[in-house]
């Protein structure tokens, strides 16, 4: 088992060697020790101090619970801006300087980047870690193992299964059926536009939202094997999704406000938007941004490409990773497991930080079992739990998502301005991604 290399591992290992050569002096000496797979993971003797960098508000309170119960493993929480706003760059700097925190919060779409740069400790051989697979929603476990054998690079923390928020009252008043397929959704968009409103907003800046839709359609943007990475932003499913939204844009049936901006919030608050295809965390975004519409919303599964389908996408979510160079991977892994499975910890992280846990036991939590007032008392989390179990577990993120997002979103911006199409944006985004991988000496298949 120890010497077994999965196909994917080989590509990762090759890449790691290449990138490591580029940053000499990185790591505290043990970055090359152990190799892949079953490096030993033994408990340290004596008291251990760990550092954990996260940007989830209130995480320090959650960690206090752990510190009370584990006097010998004390965890110190450090915070910062969210990942792409600076914390990831800091992690890379710190990995290079050899003083990275023991644990770090990393979103699923950034994990491959850290994996390729050899920034993650494989904790598969740490006690209880590999056995924890059953405790997490299938697709989240796929995100932290990359499908490699005998490998676990992080513990899933939260997820963002997608569904459709919609204005129940407006649909009823207008006598429009709540759409269950994308075809019905487009028909509804036309009727709603005739009434002077929009069915939804197309978020040009949120490429990961778009990816969530491709994910639902069964598409794959990235895959990798021993010959390198395959970049495919323009596959059949991506084209289907791109053309669909392009159609709505051209008919001016969706608005194009910048997401989460004031005018975006206002358009929801004033009833200009009838639906929002979004992730589970969108519930609190709506409740805060559109307080005047309380009680008028409801949640339904995402519209489907096939009649009677159940596929769902995912938007967001993160993991707790043990970063390379940690002197206490065993203790760090135990903490990460506790943080993301302990019912008390999960409940508090939801209350203070708004996290929707990746652990299956989330459905038992009080916070996710009752009706939500803002949604007229609907048990909305049942819908999201169902969606979560219908997310394709094989979706893979690329190793340069920040760059991919930027390039595609630039193209989306142009497409909205009438210069090109969404599909053009994906095409140029794919080209730019291939260039970026090549420039970092990451093997690409063409």
């Amino acid at each position: 088992m120890r010497a077994h290399y999965g196909k994917a591992t080989a590509a990762f290992a090759m890449v790691s060697a290449l990138t490591l050569a580029g940053c000499a002096g990185g790591g505290g000496g043990d970055s090359t020790a152990g190799g892949e797979g079953g490096s030993s993971c033994e408990p340290s003797s004596g008291p251990v101090d760990l550092t954990f960098t996260t940007w989830v508000p209130g995480m320090d309170k959650v960690v206090d619970l752990w510190n009370e119960e584990n006097p010998d493993i004390q965890v110190k929480v450090q915070t910062g801006p969210n990942g792409n706003s600076g914390t990831y760059q800091n992690f890379f700097n710190q990995l290079q300087a050899g003083n990275a925190p023991d644990l770090g919060q990393i979103e699923y779409d950034a994990l491959p980047n850290f994996r390729v740069q050899d920034g993650l400790e494989n904790i598969a051989s740490c006690e209880n870690v590999s056995d924890a697979e059953d405790q997490f929603v299938d697709w989240t476990w796929g995100q932290v193992t990359f499908g490699e054998d005998d490998a676990v690079y992080a513990v899933p923390q939260d997820s963002g299964p997608m569904a459709m928020f919609y204005r129940k009252d407006l649909f009823e008043q207008a006598g429009i059926e709540v759409p269950t397929t994308w075809e019905e959704y487009a028909a509804a968009a036309e009727e709603i536009k005739a009434q002077g409103s929009y069915i939804t907003n197309f978020p040009r800046g949120d490429v990961n939202w778009f990816a969530g839709n491709v994910w639902q359609a069964g598409g794959q943007w990235f895959s990798n094997d021993d010959e390198g990475w395959d970049v495919n932003l323009t596959g059949e499913e991506s084209e289907q999704v791109a053309n669909y939204w392009q159609g709505l844009l051209e008919k001016d049936q969706v608005s194009t406000l910048p997401s989460f901006s004031d005018e975006w919030n206002a358009s929801f608050n004033e009833g200009d938007q009838w639906t929002w295809i979004s992730a589970v965390w969108g519930a609190s975004t709506l409740a805060t941004g559109a307080p005047d519409t309380s009680g008028k919303w409801a949640v339904a599964p995402m519209p489907q490409w096939e009649d009677g389908g159940t596929a769902a996408g995912n938007w967001g979510g993160s993991s707790t990773a043990v970063l390379k160079g940690s002197e206490h991977p065993y203790e760090a892994a135990q903490f990460a497991l506790w943080l993301n499975t302990d019912p008390e910890a999960l409940a508090l992280a939801n209350e203070l930080g708004g996290l929707y846990p990746a652990a299956k036991s989330a459905t038992d939590l009080e916070a996710f079992s009752g009706g939500v007032e803002y949604f007229g008392g609907q048990k909305i989390y049942d819908v999201f739990a169902e969606a979560s179990s219908n997310v394709d577990p094989n979706f893979t993120w690329g190793p340069t998502m920040t760059q991919t997002y930027t390039d595609v979103s630039d193209g989306f911006g142009k497409a909205i301005g009438g210069d090109g199409t969404l599909m053009d944006a994906l095409t140029s985004g794919e080209e730019a991604t291939v260039e970026s991988l090549k420039s970092q000496s990451i093997p690409v298949k063409e």
Binding site: W55, P81, Q89, N90, G98, N99, W281, G289
Partner: protein, 305 residues
């Protein structure tokens, strides 16, 4: 301030009398034009601040739901409840950030000013080998943006295990090439060599002369350097972003940025970021108003040389 206010009055008088004024001729057209342009710019710069002030008196929903540039009926109580939430959210960490900024900017600017003053003074008043070379090297430091130095500084501080400490932000803040430049120019112009000679004859040591005689003559320049440094450190963002992980060490800029990056997850932070931004510019405004007179005279001194 007073000079600026007096000038237009006297011009208006002379125009009315029809006498040719001693200064440059002002036609009504050009004056109106100038006022118009200044008015537009004033509006341009003040509108965001006005928006900030107005928005800080609203609740999350009101920011989007009400007129953006005017108050609501319950503005005053909302403002105070916002301020209350700002200083109690997350165990009152915002107060800590303000204090940190005050320490970094206040102490940093004070020490930085003294160091820059001593350097500039030495370069202006002492003849020694390599003086011009040193000055030119310091001057070239003005051209290097602080952002470009942040990452190398991080690696250096990592070597000596000082990252994520107060020193990681404080020590780099002490250095101000522009301050040295200004101090040299000003010392050369305002501190007469004869005075230093006299002090030496009276038995005063160099250090004592510097602190008792020279610094007083250089006061306007020192205030200018202090203000520049204070503003630069207060607004410094990239260095703390890279250096600090412990949020109790954050300056207010970084803290607000961190909050702002979480708005999509925790929407209630929007109001706190807005109120926090308003509170965080108050010390800058206070510093400017208090030191304004010195500020303008100090700037002028550098320019005529």
């Amino acid at each position: 301030m007073s000079a600026a206010a007096a000038a237009p009055v006297s011009t208006r008088k002379s125009v009315r009398r029809g006498n040719a004024p001693r200064g440059p001729r002002h036609s009504i057209m050009s004056r109106t034009g100038a006022m118009l342009i200044m008015g537009v710019f004033t509006l341009y710069f003040l509108t965001p601040i006005w928006w900030l002030l107005v928005s800080s008196t609203k609740t999350g929903g009101q920011i989007t739901g009400t007129a953006p540039l005017w108050f609501t009926m319950e503005s005053i109580p909302t403002f105070f409840s916002n301020i209350g939430r700002l200083f109690t959210y997350s165990d009152g960490v915002f107060g800590r950030w303000l204090l940190n900024s005050a320490i970094y900017a206040g102490l940093g600017a004070l020490l930085g000013t003294i160091i820059a003053a001593m350097c500039g003074y030495a370069l202006a008043k002492y003849e020694f080998k390599g003086r011009e070379a040193i000055f030119n090297i310091v001057l070239s430091g003005v051209l290097v943006p602080a952002t470009a130095l942040a990452l190398p500084l991080f690696l250096i501080f990592s070597e000596v295990k000082l990252t994520n400490t107060l020193w990681a932000v404080f020590l780099p803040s002490l250095v101000s090439p522009f301050g040295v430049y200004l101090a040299r120019i000003y010392a050369a112009a305002s501190v007469p060599g004869e005075l230093l000679e006299a002090a030496r004859l009276d038995g005063s040591g160099e250090i004592r002369t510097f602190f008792t005689v020279s610094t007083r003559l250089m006061a306007p320049a020192l205030v200018t350097i202090f203000l520049f440094q204070f503003v630069a450190i207060w607004n410094n963002f990239f260095l703390p972003l890279i250096m600090l992980r412990d949020q109790t060490l954050f300056p207010v800029t970084l803290g607000l940025y961190a909050w702002n990056s979480q708005i999509s997850q925790i929407p209630e932070l929007r109001v706190l970021v807005i109120v926090g931004a308003l509170v965080s510019i108050l010390p800058l405004i206070a510093a400017f108003l208090a030191l304004q007179r010195f500020w303008s005279s100090g700037l002028g001194a550098g320019s005529v040389k």
